[in-house]
């Protein structure tokens, strides 16, 4: 009777922990902002990275709707990292092209 009681307490505590996780609003906001920032520039220059970011953000949104906040937080962080990579790749390509045209202008 006693071990069962201990396990029951543990399970209850774990459930409580899950239930008390707050919605990852700031992570979601950061991911949405970064994807929005990357979208216009990365469509041409880094489409694969942008598509990954968009897909991961969509999965994060779904997790939020279902209340799977911990999962949503991880997906939001990954979407943000994807979008930052896409934006940076687009920036690097843009500056490289500018440099090429400057050099050929001479």
């Amino acid at each position: 009777m006693k071990p069962f009681k201990v396990l029951a307490v543990c399970f209850a505590a774990a459930l409580a922990a899950c239930a008390t996780t707050d919605p990852p609003e700031s992570e979601m906001a950061a991911a949405r902002a970064m994807v929005a920032q990357a979208r216009p520039v990365a469509q041409g220059a880094a489409p694969a990275e942008l598509a990954t970011a968009e897909g991961t953000l969509a999965r994060a949104e779904t997790a939020m709707q279902r209340g799977h906040y911990e999962h949503a937080r991880l997906l939001a962080e990954e979407a943000e990292a994807d979008a930052r990579l896409a934006w940076t790749a687009a920036e690097a390509a843009r500056l490289q092209a500018n440099l090429q045209s400057e050099r050929s202008a001479r």
Partner: protein, 297 residues
């Protein structure tokens, strides 16, 4: 007996948890490789140190969780973040290097353009300077030519005036003959028309001297040589002495009439320079003469 079985099952579960999933392991390997690649790049160290630090933080978290042997999902998550951030650091470094190169290339192009403009401006200035110098030289040449023409015109006018005056003198003063020579104009007067005897002038000779003096005062810039000649008859010494005295007498008479003495050079030449043969009285009379040579100004 129920309790030991349950404990065994729990221990087995914990032991299984000690190893993270193969997928997480693979992700961790990728993250380590990406991070090593980015960290080894000198451009990343120079341009993207904060971005590299973000990757390092995620990788350390992944390693820590992997060491605990649990939470495969979190290991995978952090390894994924580390891999993305390492690639982001690499691209950031590339972008910033391109930006720096772009700034340098633009500055170089502008410097070259400014240099070219400066060269063009300097060439234009030199050209303008050259044109101005040429214009001034042409102007000076034109001025010189004009001045020379004006001077010649004045000179010609003065010479014409002088010739007209000489001709009038020749017409008005009795016995004066004017001739143009290489020394200037020579006025010749026969001694007989000028002198009564010795150094005494005839009344007609006085009038002739009046005319000559007026003429000389009208042309004050010209030098005057009074030269007295005799004929070859009689004593040579006496004739030469008379020639000198007559030349001096003419000079004195001209000075009395207002001609500056320094202009007049008086000389007696005796019979050394005859103008006619001395074997007739007519020729001898021609040779006894006063020549007044009026030189150039």
């Amino acid at each position: 007996m129920k309790t030991p079985w349950r404990l065994t099952a729990l221990a087995a579960a914990l032991a299984a948890g000690c190893a993270i999933s193969p997928a997480a392991n693979e992700r961790l390997e990728q993250a380590r490789a990406s991070y090593r690649g980015a960290a080894a790049d000198p451009q990343v160290q120079r341009h993207a140190a904060p971005e590299l630090q973000n990757a390092a933080n995620a990788l350390r978290e992944a390693e820590r969780l992997a060491k605990e042997g649990s939470y495969s999902e979190l290991v995978e998550h952090n390894a994924y973040l580390a891999e993305r951030r390492a690639r982001t650091a690499l691209l950031t470094a590339q972008a910033r290097q391109s930006e720096a190169d772009l700034v340098a290339a633009r500055a170089e192009r502008q410097r070259a353009q400014a240099e070219a403009r400066e060269r063009e401006a300097a060439a234009a200035r030199a050209q303008a300077q050259q044109a101005e110098t040429e214009r001034q030289q042409a102007e000076a040449r034109t001025k010189r030519v004009e001045e020379e023409a004006a001077r010649q015109q004045l000179q010609q006018a003065a010479a014409a005036q002088f010739a007209a005056d000489v001709n009038r003198l020749e017409a008005e003063a009795a016995g004066v003959r004017a001739k143009r020579t290489e020394r200037g104009w020579t006025l010749t007067v026969g001694d007989a028309l000028l002198f009564e005897r010795g150094t005494t002038f005839q009344p007609g000779g006085e009038r002739t001297l009046d005319e000559v003096a007026r003429f000389l005062k009208k042309h004050p810039e010209r030098s005057v040589a009074v030269e007295s000649f005799t004929d070859a008859s009689g004593a040579k010494d006496a004739a030469e002495r008379l020639a000198v005295r007559r030349a001096e007498a003419v000079k004195f008479a001209l000075v009395q009439r207002g001609v500056e003495p320094y202009r007049i050079d008086a000389r007696g030449y005796g019979s050394s320079v005859p103008v006619a043969a001395s074997d007739t009285e007519g020729g001898r009379e021609l040779n006894r003469r006063i020549e007044i040579v009026i030189g150039p100004s």
